[in-house]
Symmetry: C2
């Protein structure tokens, strides 16, 4: 009964894949702010991974501000963080540049790239 699924594939670390799936679920609205997040041991059991690996995921999500820990209780998904717009853009800088480089490597145009971005944005949940 986990609110997201992970298609384990080689190429990136296991905990990175779980981390991304969880991020995607939270950001996409499948888990609303205040909802309970699966416990470390539940994650480990359901996904058939080591508790240490599952804990690493929760640790990272907490550090990113997506989860809040209730000691002795568990974790709940947090509200959207604050922070200035320019600061946020700066954090995205590298990833945006990497995507642009990759798009041009494939010979795509700016309009096509932006179209793909909008498409994925809508797929993930139109609002926001």
């Amino acid at each position: 009964m986990i609110p997201f699924r992970v298609a384990f594939e080689p190429g990136s670390a296991l905990h990175e894949q779980v981390l991304y799936a969880a991020r995607k679920a939270i950001v996409g609205g499948k888990l609303a702010a205040g909802d309970a997040f699966p416990s470390v041991r539940t994650l480990a059991r359901e996904l058939k991974i080591n508790p240490n690996t599952a804990h690493k995921v929760v640790e990272r999500l907490t550090a990113e501000g997506l989860l809040e820990v209730m000691p002795g209780i568990g974790c709940v998904v947090a509200k959207a963080a604050a922070g200035s717009r320019s600061e946020k853009k700066r954090l995205l800088d590298r990833e945006v540049e990497a995507l642009v480089v990759e798009a041009r490597r494939l010979g795509l145009g700016l309009e096509e790239l932006q179209g793909a971005v909008e498409e994925h944005w809508m797929t993930l949940g139109g609002r926001k």
Copy 2:
């Protein structure tokens, strides 16, 4: 005398960083189609990395179609590859989704994300 620079930082593999820097230079127009690409041993010497690591970079760039090997001579940067638009978009799929997820995690809006994409596109070289 290498047409690009690499700021070595931890977090990703060494050859990945060199690979990305080279891709960026080619795609950004710093190296035109037909220009000679630094040899494996030159790369190794200038960047102070192992020849095997340098060769891995050239190998990957060749596999991506960005370089062409002239046996016994060296490498030159290739022309833009063909391929259908839909096929290219499919290859970008994961990276686009990852960027969208990251942007929403930071609480950015679609317009802001599109703006950042366009900004980096222009920075890399307005045309194309």
